[in-house]
Amino acid sequence: MSEASKSNSSLRQHFWQYFFTDDFNKATLAAIDLQALANNEQEISEAYELEAKILLKRGKFKEAQELLTKVKHYSPLKYFIDFLLDGNITALEQGITGSDLDSSIFRAQALLFTKIYWGGDYQLEPALEDIFAKLLIEKDYDRAVLASLQALELIIQEQEFGKDLLEPVAKEHLKNLLELSKQARYESTRAKVYLLMARMFKDRQAAEDAEILFGKEANHNGLAEVYAIYASEFGEKPLENLNRALNIFKITDNIAAQGYIYESLASDALSKGNLQEALKYFSEAEQVLESGGLFEKLGLEIQRLSLMAIKGEFKRIKERAQELLDSDIPKLFKAQVAQILANTLIQVDSDVDSARVLIVTACELLEDLRRYNQLLQAKNILFQIVLLEDDLPQTLKLGEEIIQLSDRLGDESSKATKYVDLAFAIVRGNMGSQEVGDKEMELSTKYFNQAIEIYKYTHNVIGEADVYQSMGNLFANINRSEDAYNSFKNARELYKSEGALLQCAITDSLIGILMLDFTMLNEQTYDIAHKHLEEAFVYYEREGFHDLCWKNAFYISDLNEKFYIATDEDRFKSRAKHYYIEMLGAIRNYRTHSDSATTIDLVNVGGISPEEALSKGAAFFFSIKEDEVAREFKDSRIDT
């Protein structure tokens, strides 16, 4: 063997060592050196492919695609990356003609993705078994174990029913892979088996074992994945661990993983009601995933639409969602877009008919794709529509169907939510009156208690709080104010204990509004209402929830105005003035940030438009002879 060949071969060995231990920088350098040392076109092309494999691991699909244009020989990797960017399975199937291992692996992976996102009856089992057997014959244990892990993950992701059947078999397979990985060259391979065990079975010890093995090989990417798992699966110091992982992924230039961490941080911030922080992280995710593939981009689109809904940008949602529905995107995303649009149409335009068409389409798509978890969500929206149509027998039937589906999926939380919905459905026809019969009330309370039982049993405090909040809303609607107040108080305490600030603030608003509706508003109820509304206002203002902010300011103004009229005391007058002015500012803010004059109802007892609130403000200032301020309110109305 010549010196050149020797160094070529040793570089190649180094490349694979760095590849399997995830040292992307050194692997890339080895691939570049191989390009420089290449003796012919074939060797250069092979070296480009190696470099592209690292770009693929980093999530830089576009760069990989560009690099692979220089490859002159048959390259299944090239077709696979094209597929990740455009989702065109036909082109991949026409392109990948070989029967070598790489061809089989990329074809199988692409088909698995296709099955998940577009549906279709692909029989992948023989291919997966064949690939695994061939790798074992070649004694390529690292690749065999890694390929099997990837397949296992996708299989589990794709199969939503029968998890209780799959779990023991998956455990056996993972244990066998763990044993097999003792014959692999790299400890990182075994660590990856532990990593999947930790994720799939919430096995903390497995995560620690992975950390130790990754540490032995200084596999920084692997270590960062473990930190991310400590945060996401075990809830351990989420911010600290996610940021620790993020810093490592930045150093290793792993943008796919960075995107995942930013998305986790955004979702964590959102669950705590920190909208501004969520938007910041989401924008970071968008930046890093810019060069990602089709699925990453469409995933971002869905999140973007969801954030628009939270921000109240309904006009933009309608435009973008329609564009996406008209385009040729995978069925799974189409179903999600249809759901978001349907929700918007119900919320903003009360266009129940169009929403129903969209949601039925979404249900059909999801049923076809066998995405039962998402089907459950879609059916829940359909349930809301049926509820609005006041068809009690149909509502109860669909409700029971949803409970059954939730049960099959082991989704206790969804079951509980449906019990709450059914509790509402029973008394819905009598809302606003005091004529709810004992029998209805008994059945309704039974449903609520079933929901509370489930949440208590599953230690879901937020869920339990949600039930109390719903009970509060129901009691408020049938004029059982004291019961409503007690339910809201329970909800608030539970939300607070979990740090769910947005939900806590909304409950504060609900308590305030409940007091406003009391027929006997008195000093004691005034103090309670004022305290809760004020706390909520401070929170909405700080977090930039513009819609909730002006509405809340309106309710505080209204409360103080009522007391001023009743008592003629100046302190109520000056508080009413203060909050009406705050409301005016908040409405202006809301209009600046929202593309539509539409609003979200703060409570289900009916909302108020900015125009109505401004008229009320103007009337108040006219009544206290402050005409100039009153005119400012009047002139701020869009309809004037």
Binding site: L136, K163, K171, E172, H173, K175, K182, E400
Partner: protein, 111 residues
């Protein structure tokens, strides 16, 4: 034939081959479990467990079948679907027992 009877017939015709397939999958899993007990070769064990996993995935579709039948039962209101569910559930239980054997086997290997 009215809608309800048509639905019943449709389910029945779909059910027969499904039930046969489930019985076959169950026997295969049991046979694979036996083979796993008879070998110590790590590669062979991993190959066997992958096959078991893929078989289980196919079997897991039984849940979809049960759900479908339950839905039909609700809409068609035909009492006989109840016994269909029981037949499927019985197969499922047997399969689950065989699946649990896999985990027990894995635990023994580790010891």
């Amino acid at each position: 034939m009215d809608t309800s009877t048509a639905k019943t017939e449709e389910i029945k015709s779909r059910k027969r081959p499904q039930l046969a397939a489930y019985s076959e999958l169950l026997s295969t899993l049991e046979a694979l479990n036996l083979r796993s007990q008879q070998t110590q070769d790590k590669a062979e064990l991993a190959k066997l467990s992958l096959t078991k996993l893929l078989i289980t995935k196919r079997f897991a579709n039984i849940d979809e079948e049960i759900l479908e039948i339950s839905k039909q039962r609700m809409s068609a209101n035909a009492g006989e679907f109840f016994s269909d569910i029981l037949v499927f559930e019985a197969k499922r239980l047997a399969f689950k027992e065989a699946a649990n054997q896999c985990q027990k086997q894995a635990n023994q290997t580790q010891v």
